[in-house]
């Protein structure tokens, strides 16, 4: 049986290796992905149409803004599902298979607390930098939001969940998550109200003091901020719910 598995694995591996020779080379200008007219349009026209030097950000938040909006909604739904399940079923006494686990209560630790106190402001400033600098370098709402959420998780790990909850209450976090989605969808609806398609940002130059190209540039930042709100809030609320079985009391 083992030999059969080995043969199957080796056969599949050899087939994959043989197939990989048919791939175009890295950055091959004549590969189908690069020579299709859509790619050519993005590569040559992005800077003229949106003034964003980072093509990835422009495609993510402007050309396929619909997709990104519902990516943010997927994250939001995941967070709501975790809360919904754990609040309903999490307070039953949970006993793991190997009998009950007794954790020693957490003791304050000077070294860990000092390091965390030094690091958290730096992490949060870096998160804001990643969010705001997404136009020019790799980054944006999702990445910056995860970094920002990680700073709260670090606080909850280094002190305890109660301290982190005193900083940012669960309820406020969830309101923040809803606000993020509302900012994103609101920008889209605003475009509709001004007489363009949903998420077609260039019409916003009527209310922003800029021309249509810069209106797209600034709307991308607005959208990224909305995504960052949602991701930050959902990251932290998933962590705090999972680590405390939905009780929000003790936790790890």
């Amino acid at each position: 049986m083992k030999a059969l598995g080995l043969i199957a694995v080796l056969g599949t591996g050899l087939l994959l290796l043989a197939a990989s020779r048919d791939f175009p080379n890295w950055g091959d200008p004549s590969s189908p992905a690069s020579s299709y007219r859509l790619s050519r349009h993005f590569i040559t026209q992005t800077i003229n149409e949106t003034a964003v030097p980072n093509m990835v950000t422009a495609v993510l938040a402007d050309y396929r803004g619909y997709d990104t909006l519902f990516e943010a909604v997927v994250i939001f739904t995941a967070g709501i599902a975790v809360i919904g399940i754990l609040r309903r079923y999490g307070n039953r006494d949970f006993i793991p298979a190997g009998g009950e686990v007794h954790l020693t209560p957490k003791q304050p630790d000077l070294i860990v607390e000092s390091t965390v106190r030094l690091l958290i402001p730096v992490i949060q400033i870096f998160a804001l930098y990643v969010i705001a600098h997404g136009h020019h370098s790799p980054g944006g709402g999702f990445q910056g939001g995860v970094i920002f959420g990680a700073s709260f998780i670090l606080l909850a790990l280094a002190r305890d969940l109660r301290t982190a909850q005193n900083w940012v209450a669960e309820k406020r976090m969830l309101i923040l998550a809803c606000c993020g989605i509302l900012i994103y969808a609101g920008i889209g609806v605003l475009c509709q109200l001004l007489g363009e398609n949903f998420l077609d940002y260039q019409i916003l130059h009527r209310i922003l003091p800029t021309d249509p190209v810069m209106a797209r540039y600034h709307s991308i930042l607005g959208v990224e901020i909305g995504v960052a709100f949602t991701v930050t809030a959902i990251m932290f609320s998933i962590y705090s719910n999972l680590s405390s079985n939905g009780q929000m009391k003790e936790g790890i």
Binding site: T104, I111, V112, T115, L119, V122
Partner: protein
Amino acid sequence: MIIPAISAVLIALGLLFFIGGAVGILRFPDFYTRMHAAGKGDTMSMFAICLGLAVYQLQDPTPAHILVAMKILLIALFIMMTSPTSTHALIKAGFIEGLKMWRRKDRKEKS
């Protein structure tokens, strides 16, 4: 010519410490000694490798390259702060939970 040589020596030194850390994790007898090898080896090697990369950036000292070198040095600084702290936290957690330390006499019982 001299700057790439310095950076190569620093990166090679870092890789040497990495090997030390990896061998330590595999060969040492218990949790505490393994964490000792992992914490010290990884911190030192990451610092040496980051320093080597920063030095390599400085062979063409335009502002853009200096900025990259500064960013790499910042990464090194944060690793110098976080890696020993996490090692400390792990070892303290093990100590509080009453994990037994390895003694010389354990070696006979094992073999």
